[in-house]
Symmetry: C2
Subunit: 401 residues, 2 copies
């Protein structure tokens, strides 16, 4: 009948141990006294908990030494350090065209990184195969075994609900392998945490990107298609079926009309201009017989091509309108623009900001991501680390004595 178990004395230890571990995992080497100050616990408790954590393998004890080097008086402190090699986590971005895989230690430092194109992939099973190859590569590169990996975060370009279930009737399914997560668990025995890519991008920016210390946040993935991750008070939104942040509403927004992102709009507009013989543009010569790319449009604009500049103005206008709707409706402190074209988007920022101000008197700050093509995989690492931190005291570490 009881919804939550009763609160018992051992739970106190659990809470305090979790707190101590969380302090240790973010700080560096800490002395007993330092932990007392950081946690509010008594010295006796701090040491008891630390002894437990050492026995479990989460913490390592260094040689005793003094905290402040200036006044080396008194008995030297015991010194504790979070054992960032107690295990590893994987962050996997399964994109439309490629996959990016990060292997990270428990402090979030990247240990190995790789990527694979999906160019030759024809069936979902092949996709899983390619992802797994990339995973095996990073494990081998860092000499990490299956049992040392404590969790894997996986990002996909489809709605994913809070339980990690993917929305079945999504077009992404044409390519994506439904069995990926279960297959990874089968092969390696890891907990696999599936999440929407834009949501992971938001976790990534919040953790290691432009949005540190920003708890009311929107991240706009703006490459091929617009996608958004929404965070309110430090929590990701999901909606009832994982669809929160879905951008199909843009077909109702004047001057936007569809979910085509910056790269796609630039490319399509460029191709249109090239195809029209009455338009005079250097894009035609630059492209030659190859199809026009977004990069080409940005380059031409840089070189002063009027048509390319016009296209970028149009892109900036669309983006400003997208940012305006999100900024007004969610009232984030900051919106971060990420995705393949984030770097190029930098040059559009002044124009975007200026137009944004015409839609709202209190616009959010706008920034461009500096995480590049790891924006999703970094977030996937964070997702996996969240899981590990939550379950730390239940996990059996292979390094535990």
């Amino acid at each position: 009948m009881a919804t939550t178990p009763a609160a018992t004395p051992p739970m106190l230890r659990r809470v305090n141990a979790g707190k101590l571990l969380s302090v240790l995992s973010t700080a560096g080497v800490m002395t007993g006294t330092g932990l007392i100050e950081a946690t509010g616990l008594t010295r006796a408790t701090v040491h008891a908990v630390c002894n437990d954590l050492i026995a479990m393998g989460w913490v390592v004890e260094l040689d005793p030494g003094h905290d402040a080097p200036g006044t080396p008086v008194g008995r030297p402190s015991r010194r504790f350090e979070f054992n960032s090699q107690a295990g590893y986590v994987l962050g996997i971005d399964v994109g439309a065209a490629k996959t990016t895989v990060l292997l990270s230690d428990l402090r979030g430092e990247t240990v190995a990184k790789t990527g694979r194109s999906f160019q030759s992939v024809k069936t979902p099973a092949e996709q899983t195969q390619v992802v797994n190859e990339a995973v095996l590569e990073v494990l081998a590169a860092a000499d990490v075994t299956d049992s040392e990996v404590l969790a894997a975060g996986v990002g996909v370009a489809a709605p994913v609900d809070r339980e990690g279930n993917i929305l079945v009737d999504d077009e992404f399914w044409r390519r994506f392998d439904a069995g990926l997560t279960t297959r990874l668990t089968e092969l390696h025995g890891w907990p696999v945490l599936l999440e929407n890519d834009a949501n992971l991008a938001t976790l990534g920016e919040h953790w290691r990107g432009e949005a540190r210390d920003v708890d009311d946040l929107v991240v706009l993935l703006a490459g091929e298609r617009f996608g958004s991750g929404l965070m309110d008070s430090g929590r990701l939104l999901h909606g009832s079926r994982g669809g929160a942040g879905e951008m199909v509403y843009l077909k109702l927004v004047e001057g936007v009309g569809d979910t085509a992102g910056i790269a796609r709009t630039a490319r399509e507009q460029g191709a249109k201009a090239v195809a029209d013989p009455t338009v005079k543009t250097s894009l035609r010569e630059l492209a030659g017989s190859d199809p026009v790319t977004a990069e080409l449009v940005f380059a031409a604009a840089d070189a002063g091509d009027k048509v390319a500049l016009g296209i970028l103005q149009y892109v900036a206008c669309r983006t400003a309108r997208v940012l305006a709707t999100l900024g007004i409706l969610f009232n984030p402190e900051l919106i971060v623009i990420g995705g393949a074209v984030a770097a190029a988007a930098e040059s559009l920022l002044p124009s975007i900001r200026q137009q944004l101000a015409t839609y709202t008197a209190t616009p959010p700050r706008i920034a461009v991501s500096s995480l590049g093509d790891t924006i999703v995989s970094v977030g996937a690492v964070r997702r996996a680390l969240n899981y590990v931190e939550q379950h730390a005291l239940d996990l059996q570490l292979s390094s535990a004595r």
Copy 2:
């Protein structure tokens, strides 16, 4: 240094007492055994906590009796009941044109209700005066003293952040008295909890309206202006400055263009039709020399007036587009339409649902509020009750022995 205090043994009691109180406050009379099942605690603990709660005044003990009437064997149980008269809370809706005030017991049952028009109000101070008169009226009607009121929730049509601070540069301020909350605290000594009206409407629908058991929810206030409250996984969104749910983005939505709600659109379109001599409509005779009202347009449409029917079609189209943007971007399970015209909106539902389906393949459920003009004040009561439940074990009850 410590961000949160250390977990100590007395906190266990606090947690368990809180849980027991929360079970008791929602259930009716409970026996010791029933509480054991509901909380997972031991009999010894249940009784110890109950004795504490009785001493504090939160719980009353009834004469012992048997739980199941069929088999009255064994020693009769002690029977406990949440003392819903241990205190009271106020729910206050400060609207643009009027205020609604509810006095409720701790179980959320309305004890007294009243309202006041702001028609004669000219200054902010007068507004506070009118609100306070209404408050005094409900207190007198239920014979409740200041010290028995444990909290007051107040809803206003302006952005309010998580700390209860109102956004200063809002047009609502022309009428609203900034000093209302501090004045109420000064006069009566209550904690006053300020919150945005649409957010409170969302709490209200979630608690006592159409959205019970729905944790991913949007409530659209659709009277004079569109306003929305957003709930994800049972939590209200606020954004960084309380602006979450703000609808100014509608000026960017095709076929909507501004935040005018159902009532205002119907009224204005009606007036426009009447003013145009080339338009043939029964509205002209119905209105006579008075200005056209939304009610009049609805009535004329009911009677078959073509122009009025056309206006309603336009209103339904606008509303469907608003619902589509919210439904797609937040993916709520349900959107509830509330506000002054909620009842009339019922007739538009089929048309709205049909159009909504053209914008998204997975539309949310749409419902119309049945809370009428108490939608905000009921939510304000819930807000106040949340506060009381959170602080229950710290509060000094005047009824405590």
